[in-house]
């Protein structure tokens, strides 16, 4: 959603000359770039618990962040007031990074040092900065709670109607609307309003003495129109799906074995185990296991891995990133070759490439760093059923609940919330509450098959690298030759 420029200048009670004066103050001691990030966020939430919507609230967060770059060094300060004297104090605090020096732009790494494919990735895909990727027809800020509450009530009744083992339902509608104004020492002024809605249910089931839980959610950069009876029906059906298997599930015998990732939410593995290692700050600092792999074959030919800010209404969609760079579709791996890291302005300058629109921040309280948006692998040509049929003995995973990666080593661990044993090419006994561990680069090299069924998961994914930002993930059905599965 993009209003006229004056709308944003009025919210923050600034004008271009005043922002120029702030930039000048920020650069007074030196430095070669400065920017301002104004934010006005309203959050709201409603909670259904024990059959009634008895809890809710609204929250306001307002302020401005001032950043000074001196070479690759960062000075950052913020103010919760946009009064002139408060912002000036903030600019002076950020200017401390320069300390009388100026480090003008130099490429730390020649543009083609790691292969000719390093450049030429500029704005591939859909870079159109004029696109509004999250138009809103019903606004969160002006919608009464009485309009939202029936969706929570219906979700609970639909879930309970589908399964008599349901003992508790906690339903939540949460939303956030953020007005953003960005201005920098290049005199670029960008502004927009970002919506975000999330609708979720956590369901507790009881069968005999056993208890199980399941959470389902939908989250989009959209207005209230994201709520509908159809969404309620879909979520209710998803909430009770697979509960029989979950009560019957057990831990399998552990060991090394082939693993098939189901399409959709399994994409979190791609986000954690590979995506983070492709973020350019980890590579610039030499900590990522991929820092010397640019231009090299990192997985079998035919595989494309993408980070995409252009998916309309997606949780990771961005018209602009938080440095004012247009949102883009960035191919990190093309035909199995690592062709691009994910860049903010600092790392792009270091590598001598264009920023990829990945400079993101949680709020005005944080300086931007390279972050993913919607990360996924493109579809291959295998039928999912054929992939499963090709595995004599292994594990099929359709839901992970947690994951972690060690960026330097590439080692990852993921908790399997639900899945199945694969025996003689067929899904057999359900499994749960086990871990899968492996190494990111090795797992990429060991991809044996990619399905033709890419799905982007619609759930509420939040990435927590130093700061929390909304993301999404996806993957087609993928077979990995060998991973370690924890079990009895």
């Amino acid at each position: 959603m993009i209003h006229p420029e004056q709308h944003y200048l009025d919210i923050f009670q600034v004008d271009i000359p005043r922002m120029d004066a702030l930039i000048a103050e920020a650069l007074r001691q030196g430095g070669d770039y400065a920017d301002l990030y104004f934010e006005n966020t309203t959050y709201g939430n409603l909670v259904l618990r024990d059959g009634a919507v008895t809890s809710g609230g609204r929250h306001i967060d307002f302020g401005v962040g001032v950043r000074v770059l001196n070479g690759e060094k960062t000075g950052y300060a913020y103010s919760e007031s946009t009064a002139r004297e408060d912002m000036m104090a903030c600019a002076r605090a950020a200017s401390a990074i320069a300390d009388g020096t100026s480090a003008f732009y130099e490429h730390s790494v020649p543009a083609t040092a790691n292969g000719s494919r390093l450049v030429g990735r500029r704005f591939r895909g859909a870079p159109n900065p004029a696109a509004d990727r999250y138009p809103v027809s019903i606004h969160w800020r002006t919608t009464e709670s009485s309009v939202l509450i029936p969706y929570l009530q219906k979700l609970e009744s639909e879930i309970r109607a589908r399964d008599t083992r349901v003992v508790k339902v906690i339903g939540v509608i949460s939303w956030q609307v953020t007005d953003i104004l960005m201005y920098n020492s290049l005199k670029e002024c960008k502004y927009e309003t970002r919506p975000m809605g999330a609708f979720s249910a956590t369901v507790i089931f009881q069968q005999g003495g056993k208890v199980e839980n399941k959470t389902v959610s939908r989250s989009f950069r959209a207005g209230v129109e994201m709520l509908s009876d159809q969404v309620v029906e879909e979520m209710a059906a998803q909430a009770v799906k697979g509960i029989d298997e979950r009560f019957d599930a057990r831990r399998p015998k552990g060991g090394q074995m082939p693993v098939v990732m189901g399409a959709g939410a399994s994409g979190i593995l791609l986000h954690e185990a590979m995506g983070h290692a492709f973020e350019a700050d980890f590579n610039r600092k030499g900590t990522s296991i991929f820092s010397d792999k640019m231009g090299q074959q990192v997985c079998p030919k035919g595989i494309q891995i993408i980070d995409d800010g252009t998916l309309k209404g997606n949780r990771g969609a961005l018209n602009f990133d938080d440095e004012g760079v247009p949102g883009q579709k960035t191919y990190m791996v093309e035909d199995g070759i690592l062709t691009s890291y994910l860049h903010d302005r600092i790392s792009a300058r270091h590598y001598g490439v264009s920023p990829t629109g990945n400079g993101r921040r949680e709020s005005f309280r944080y300086a931007p760093i390279p972050r993913m948006r919607a990360t996924y692998m493109e579809s291959g040509d295998a039928a999912p059923a054929d992939i499963i049929a090709s595995v004599p003995q292994g594990i099929y995973v359709d839901e992970f609940s947690n994951g972690q990666v060690k960026i330097g080593e590439g080692d990852f661990t993921f908790f399997v919330k639900s899945g199945f044993l694969i025996e003689n090419g067929r899904l057999t006994a359900p499994v749960k509450d086990i871990n899968i561990i492996g190494n990111g680069p090795e797992a990429l090299r060991d991809v044996l098959a990619v399905g033709n069924d890419l799905a982007i998961d619609p759930g509420t994914w939040t990435c927590g690298k130093e700061q929390s930002v909304p993301v999404s993930c996806g993957i087609p059905t993928v077979l990995i030759k060998n991973l370690t599965v924890g079990g009895e």
């Binding site: 809890s55 690759e72 508790k168 009881q206 947690n402």
Partner: protein, 448 residues
């Protein structure tokens, strides 16, 4: 740090809410200031200045409840915000269980915020130049050659920061309480590379409310991170199976936190806890006793009151394997009929058992097994208590570390795990919010 004017604004906001439709209200006003200096490979890489304020408002209107917050503290704007908040609460469904705590339970001795000795005057006199010097003095980059023994240090990234946090809470039942603390912190992450190009990363950190107390760690933190990273070089497979495990005090909270969470009243009321109906029963090993000790002066994590303003107290959370009670706030108490307590464990302390003082003592006593020094991913099931975590650590034999292990998992159920507790050392790190020493367990499933 909070000015009298800011505190007066909070009082006026409380009164305004009561005059305009709220029958009860609680206001919490927080303010914090942090200065941070980041170091990358021996050079200053980042400076950051962060001043935050937030006003949190809980409102009870016509039998309904809502919670709100804003960092825009201009008087007129706040009044409009409160009027809008009251309208929002009126749109919710009534909930008789919502109420303020009984005034008898409220804290009475948190008047100036400094009763627990968590505030260091040295914070006020530190200059920006002094902070910068402290931060730059923590790097080992200019002497890395002498530390590189069979490996290369690829990068060091550290942060020195100090902060002050000041908070007051007041309600329409007459509560007024204040908590003030300073914090001085250092943290480093280091990546090293062995002769074959394999990379290993690790970290170390420390935090304390007193400047003087952090000074020794400023000198040793980065080197300790280097040592921890280098110690991982040359990992080997381990056959796994049923193993003795020793869990380093740095990461032992991974096993206790889910147990404390399972004692939370909300999880119990929602039946999403593996400890439903277990209070008062012997569930864990009799070797396990966890005390809540919230009043230790000068130690991070100490608090005189919880977010409702209810006074904390010292009591056994788990007494010789028996969870003594659930954590029941006012709302959950009214929902369940259970006696209210503080809302959560404040500063849990696991008491030593078995006679060992240090991690090395425990390794010698246990003999053979796996020493866990960190966790990498994994999760637990809050309903069943089943868990599976990726682990980092070392194999040890005859009480001596032999080699790092790789790609290992520890899997089990928390009730079984804590029934297999054999030893608790006496080496908890004071910088952590939960004081958990090195732990030893027997007969635990480990997969490699």
């Amino acid at each position: 740090m909070l000015s009298e004017k800011e505190i007066a604004l909070a009082r006026e906001t409380l009164e305004f809410a009561l005059e305009n439709g709220a029958q009860k209200a609680r206001i919490t006003l927080n303010k914090s200031l942090m200065e941070l200096f980041g170091i990358l490979n021996g050079e200053l890489d980042k400076v950051s200045h962060a001043l935050d304020r937030s006003l949190q408002v809980s409102l009870w209107v016509d039998g309904r409840f809502g919670s709100f917050s804003s960092n825009r503290l201009e008087e007129e704007g706040l009044r409009q915000f409160i009027l809008g908040a009251i309208d929002t609460v009126r749109s919710l469904e009534p909930d008789e269980a919502r109420d303020l705590p009984d005034p008898e339970r409220l804290v009475k001795n948190a008047e100036n915020g400094r009763e627990l000795d968590l505030y260091d005057n040295a914070y006020e006199t530190l200059t920006s130049d002094q902070r910068r010097a402290l931060a730059l003095g923590t790097s080992v980059w200019d002497r890395k050659a002498e530390l590189e023994k069979g490996f290369r240090i690829l990068s060091e990234e550290g942060e020195y920061s100090d902060s002050i946090f000041d908070s007051v809470v007041m309600d329409s039942n007459g509560l007024f309480a204040r908590h003030t603390e300073t914090s001085f912190e250092i943290g480093y992450e280091v990546t090293v590379e062995d002769g074959e190009g394999n990379r290993y990363a690790s970290y170390w950190w420390d935090a304390t409310p007193r400047l003087e107390a952090i000074l020794p760690s400023l000198k040793t933190c980065c080197e300790k991170a280097v040592q921890r990273a280098a110690a991982q070089i040359g990992p080997m497979d381990h056959p796994g199976g049923k193993c003795n495990i020793v869990v380093d005090s740095e990461c032992a909270s991974k096993f206790l936190t889910p147990v404390l969470n399972a004692l939370g009243g909300f999880a119990i009321q929602q039946k999403n806890s593996f400890l439903v109906d277990k209070a008062g029963q012997r569930v864990f090993s009799p070797h396990l006793t966890v005390m809540d000790r919230p009043w230790n002066k000068g130690e991070s994590g100490s608090r005189l009151y919880d977010s409702e303003g209810v006074a904390t107290r010292e009591f056994p959370i788990i007494d010789q394997g028996v969870p003594t009670r659930y954590f029941i706030n006012t709302y959950i108490s009214h929902k369940t009929g259970l006696e209210p307590t503080i809302e959560d464990a404040t500063r849990p302390v696991v008491l030593p058992y078995g006679g060992c003082k240090t991690r090395d003592d425990v390794l010698r006593k246990v003999g053979n097994g796996i020493l866990i020094t960190g966790f990498n991913g994994g999760n637990s099931n809050t309903s069943t208590g089943d868990f599976s975590y990726g682990i980092e650590g070392f194999a040890f034999e005859d009480g001596v570390i032999t080699h790092p292990v790789r790609e290992m998992l520890v899997t089990g159920n928390f009730i079984d795990l804590w029934n297999n507790l054999t030893d608790v050392a006496d080496d908890a790190r004071l910088c952590l919010s939960k004081l958990i020493p090195t732990l030893a367990f027997q007969n635990i499933d480990c997969n490699g």
